[in-house]
């Protein structure tokens, strides 16, 4: 019997078995409905957030322009806010969007952290899951696959049909491919459309853009497809290890619990213990120290003044051709910038190390690897949040430079009594930020891609080995 005919026969038989599993069929249909409903909810939420943000941006600009006449430095302390946009796939996978701040105050002298986390207004939930397409596909879909496939080999061993199959002389790899292909067709006809439909429904037409939506969407669908194949291979492999359906199901559920419930939480906890975060008080103190290098350093102020006076050949600041206070204010910003960079750099490095722990833990949990990749492709992970925060800081420095330069050039002898008006406020541009392209950031996601690909390769080898072992044992029994 030719290999192709064998494969076709196996495929057809496996498909029939799968389709006769009414529980699995019902679960599959329920999964599609739930994923699509979650996508619709996600889109509605994204649109609501976008409207809120646009309103806040408009108000911020109106308030800024309408602040009346005042000293530019006072305006710098009032300043403006930078608001984060929610990328178009945030309805599919909100990532950490609810747990990272929405806005940054671009105030003089201080690089403020992002504030207003949406999760603080949510309920007091278990934080075990959320009704988003990404969570359902990462956590619930594997359970569906395990229920559908737990008996694929164990059932045959229990019923005694595996011996008959092995007696026909068919090769183990052909059987694996047949089972995998059948699972792929049956489950893929449920899951892949669910992923595609979820992505399309959850993406609102007018939302924060990314420059490469098609690349991100394609890689996202590929990542989820690879994940489902990994899960199917694990199901077939574990099913091959056991003689009874119930033992196979128990083992698969244990794998699912460890991979989706236990490992992520334990991993997050270990990460915090190994690399603890600063307390609120420590953060405040560190930020205050970073932000105040100038005014508490009389020696520096004296030297700076002497240098400037010498440069312009005068003996007092009133004789300078510009307002010295404006220059001082700008120098203080420039002196503080590297200190803020070092302070936040230390915090970011610590958080990077925490996430490296999670990457290690993802070796035991393909779901964790996929969640990292999925949030990255949806532009809703911490890395993309950081690009927003960094862009806000760059804009803050531009605003302060504009205001300080205006004081330096126009305040003259008026000093802090100098006032400016809306003609200056209008020159300050509003903050604009779009998520960066994925390609320059891709190297950050290579470990997760490597984990998924390793699971694919290892999963196939494991399924093949386990099935061969099962055939061997059933032949000897």
């Amino acid at each position: 019997m030719s290999g192709a005919l064998v494969l076709k026969a196996l495929l057809w038989k496996e498909l029939q078995v799968l389709l006769r599993n009414r529980t699995a069929v019902a679960l599959g249909l329920a999964l599609i409905v739930v994923v699509l409903a979650a996508a619709a909810l996600g889109r509605q939420r994204s649109e609501r957030i976008a409207i809120e943000r646009e309103g806040a941006e408009r108000t911020d600009q109106q308030v800024w322009l309408g602040q009346g006449e005042r000293n530019p430095h006072a305006a710098g302390h009032f300043s403006r806010y930078a608001f984060k946009s929610f990328p178009f796939l945030s309805g599919f996978d909100p990532g950490v969007a609810d747990f990272a701040g929405l806005a940054v105050w671009m105030e003089a002298h201080v690089q403020s952290p992002a504030v207003f986390r949406r999760a603080e207004d949510n309920g007091d939930g278990l934080r075990m899951g959320s009704v988003t397409p990404a969570w359902i596909l990462q956590v619930i879909a594997p359970l569906f696959i395990f229920v559908a496939l737990h008996a694929t080999v164990a059932g045959e061993r229990e019923d005694g049909t595996l011996r008959q199959l092995s007696a026909t002389g068919v090769r183990g790899i052909s059987v694996i491919c047949g089972k995998l292909a059948a699972s792929g067709i049956a489950l893929g006809s449920v899951l892949v459309p669910a992923v595609l439909a979820a992505v399309l429904i959850a993406a609102p037409q007018e939302a924060g853009a990314v420059p490469d939506p098609w690349l991100r969407t394609t890689v996202l669908v590929a990542a989820y497809t690879a994940y489902f194949i990994v899960i199917a291979l694990v199901a077939i492999g574990i099913s091959s290890l056991f003689r009874q359906r119930r033992s196979a199901l128990l083992a698969l559920v244990a794998f699912w619990v460890v991979g989706t419930v236990l490992a992520p939480r334990l991993g997050a906890d270990v990460a915090v213990r190994l690399f603890p975060e600063p307390t609120a008080e420590a953060f405040r103190k560190g930020l205050a120290e970073a932000g105040d290098p100038n005014w508490n350093d009389p020696e520096f102020l004296k030297q700076e003044k002497a240098r400037v006076l010498a440069r312009y050949g005068v003996d007092r600041v009133e004789a300078l051709p510009f307002n010295y206070a404006g220059l001082q204010l700008q120098r203080s910003e420039e002196r503080a910038s590297p200190r803020f960079q070092a302070f936040y750099g230390g915090l970011n490095r610590r958080q990077d190390r925490q996430e490296r722990v999670l990457r290690l833990v993802s070796l035991a949990s393909p779901a964790l690897a996929l969640s990292h990749l999925s949030a990255g492709l949806s532009a809703t992970d911490r890395l993309h949040h950081r690009t927003f925060v960094d862009a806000a800081e760059a804009h803050r420095r531009r605003i302060m430079k504009q205001l300080n330069t205006d004081i330096r050039d126009n305040a003259g002898a008026a000093g802090y009594d100098y006032i400016a008006d809306a003609s200056l406020w209008r020159t300050v541009e509003s903050f604009r930020h779009a998520s960066p392209a994925f390609t320059p950031l891709a190297r950050h996601y290579l470990p997760s891609v490597a984990v998924l690909l390793s699971y694919l390769a290892a999963g196939f080898c494991f399924a093949l080995w386990a099935f061969s072992r099962a055939v061997d044992r059933s032949a000897r029994a």
């Binding site: 909810l41 509605q44 309103g55 806040a56 308030v63 602040q67 009346g68 005042r70 009032f78 806010y81 950490v96 747990f99 929405l102 992002a114 504030v115 207003f116 986390r117 999760a119 603080e120 207004d121 949510n122 309920g123 007091d124 939930g125 278990l126 934080r127 075990m128 899951g129 959320s130 009704v131 969570w135 619930i140 359970l143 359906r245 119930r246 199901l249 128990l250 559920v253 244990a254 419930v261 939480r265 334990l266 991993g267 997050a268 906890d269 915090v272 213990r273 603890p276 975060e277 600063p278 307390t279 609120a280 008080e281 953060f283 930020l287 915090l347 958080q351 992970d381 911490r382 949040h385």
Partner: protein
């Protein structure tokens, strides 16, 4: 219960490799969860102590300066001992059983700088610095273990009773030899699940004594007894559910699948759906709109400081404005914050209403999922529930208003406050909810859980007492 069945279970499960493995893993997980909770509690306590000592030391310096200006009689600089510079620390100490649950503690502030320079919008600052990736995943504490993991272990040790014996054909032998098959099955279920819960309560009880760290242990013991009662009630519910599945379904595989599906529904799906429904039906007001309102109020107040000063003095006819004792900037900052408080009051109230509405949705969810009931009750008993953190924020805002009302006349009229008045001013206090109120507030859901557990157990026992043919 049959003594022989107990001995059999002890020998074949509790002292055998699978049983020992389950109990060992559980002990390790509980120990780690308690260790994590204790570490988090100590970190918070150290942080609060630092915060309080920094502010107290600055306040002492300020008070000393104020005393000097009063006793010396000389005209002091307007920048010395300004009323606007009074600062008081508001802190939320960890709950009595804080090592049992981190709960809402990783997301919400536990300190506030009560100072007239602050307004209700920016009162809580610089606490939103945690890694959002880890926040999204959640923490591993004892409450999570009890609510999410222990039911899974109960399912794992119970699902094949008596399916395994039925499949091997030994159930008929037992039925032939034993006076009551029901008692045999029941004993095995009870022994295995009781072992799990005795371990949970036992290790937790040891932690009550070992992790006291200065908290009076009678307080901890009383709270712990309530905590243990709720945990056992939750365990009883799952025991009833497992017993019912074992009694009605013959094949172990079907029992396992059904119980896992129920666990997924009750622990994962229902809480997630409830959150989604609550969010869709009662979305919280926009934080960005709250921010916008604050900014508009500040901007308007800055432009209209003279008008606001006149308005304030009209309300306080005993005062007259002076420029001598306080800088003018203090007055404009104070009045701006008063405007912010006035204008953002309705939004604050809207947040509170939305929270109350969402709580009603969650309250209903408790009747759909015992995991929600247990989670809420266990967190509340540990002092880690969201309501406690919200009460702290409300109390801190109230304290800020009280301090603002205290210093306002002095700031706007350009005077100083007196040492006597400052000493008479009430410092921060945060009354904890008594244990009886914590429990009475959850009486109906807990009663419902009790009734559900009893009903499930009763049905299961009745089914197990059914005719032998049905069991075999």
């Amino acid at each position: 219960m049959s003594t022989a069945a107990v001995k059999l279970e002890t020998k074949t499960f509790l002292l055998a490799l699978p049983g020992l493995l389950v109990l060992l893993v559980l002990t390790a997980l509980i120990g780690y969860g308690l260790f994590t909770g204790d570490e988090a509690r100590r970190a918070v306590t150290a942080d609060l102590t630092n915060f309080e000592s920094t502010i107290h030391s600055e306040f002492k310096q300020w008070r000393d300066d104020l005393e000097k200006t009063e006793t010396s009689g000389a005209v002091a600089s307007p920048y010395v001992a300004r009323a606007m510079n009074i600062r008081l620390p508001a802190t939320l100490r960890p709950g009595v059983l804080a090592d049992f649950a981190i709960g809402a503690g990783d997301m919400h502030p536990t300190t506030a700088d009560i100072s007239p320079w602050n307004n209700p919008v920016n009162l809580f600052s610089h606490y939103q610095v945690q890694n959002p990736t880890l926040l999204a995943i959640g923490r591993f504490d004892l409450t999570f273990i009890v609510v999410a993991l222990v039911p899974l272990l109960m399912i794992a040790v119970s699902f094949d009773i008596p399916g395994q014996d039925r499949a091997r054909g030994t159930l008929r032998l037992v039925a032939a030899q034993s006076p009551g098959l029901t008692g045999f099955i029941w004993t095995r279920l009870v022994v295995r699940n009781l072992a799990i819960w005795l371990l949970v309560i036992g290790v937790a009880a040891c932690a009550v004594l070992a992790n006291a760290h200065g908290t009076p242990w009678p307080d901890r013991l009383v709270r712990f007894l309530a905590w243990a009662a709720v945990a056992l009630l939750y365990g009883a519910f799952w025991f009833g559910l497992i017993a019912l599945a074992v009694a009605f379904l013959k094949r172990s595989e079907i029992v396992a699948a059904a119980l896992i599906a129920l666990w997924s529904a009750l622990v994962l799906a229902v809480p997630a759906l409830t959150d989604a429904v609550g969010d869709a039906a009662y979305p919280p007001p926009s934080r960005l709109a709250y921010l916008s309102e604050m900014r508009e109020a500040q901007s308007e107040a800055n432009r209209e400081v003279d008008r606001l000063t006149r308005g304030f003095l009209l309300d306080h006819p005993e005062l007259t404005a002076s420029e001598e004792a306080t800088p003018k900037f203090d007055r404009s900052a104070y009045l701006a914050n008063q405007e912010v408080d006035r204008r953002t009051g309705p939004i604050q109230a809207a947040f509170a209403r939305s929270r109350a509405d969402r709580r009603r949705v969650m309250a209903l969810a408790q009747y759909l999922s015992p995991a929600v009931t247990a989670w809420e009750a266990l967190n509340a008993l540990a002092g880690a529930d969201l309501e406690r953190y919200m009460r702290f924020q409300d109390r801190a805002r109230q304290s800020l208003r009280e301090l603002s009302a205290f210093v306002g006349p002095a700031v706007v009229s350009g005077q100083r406050v007196s040492v006597a008045d400052v000493d008479a001013f009430d410092a921060w206090s945060f009354p904890e909810t008594p244990l009886t109120r914590v429990l009475s507030g959850r009486a109906f859901p807990l009663l419902y859980l009790l009734v559900a557990a009893v009903a499930l157990i009763a049905f299961a026992r009745r089914r197990l007492r059914a005719s032998l043919e049905l069991l075999l």
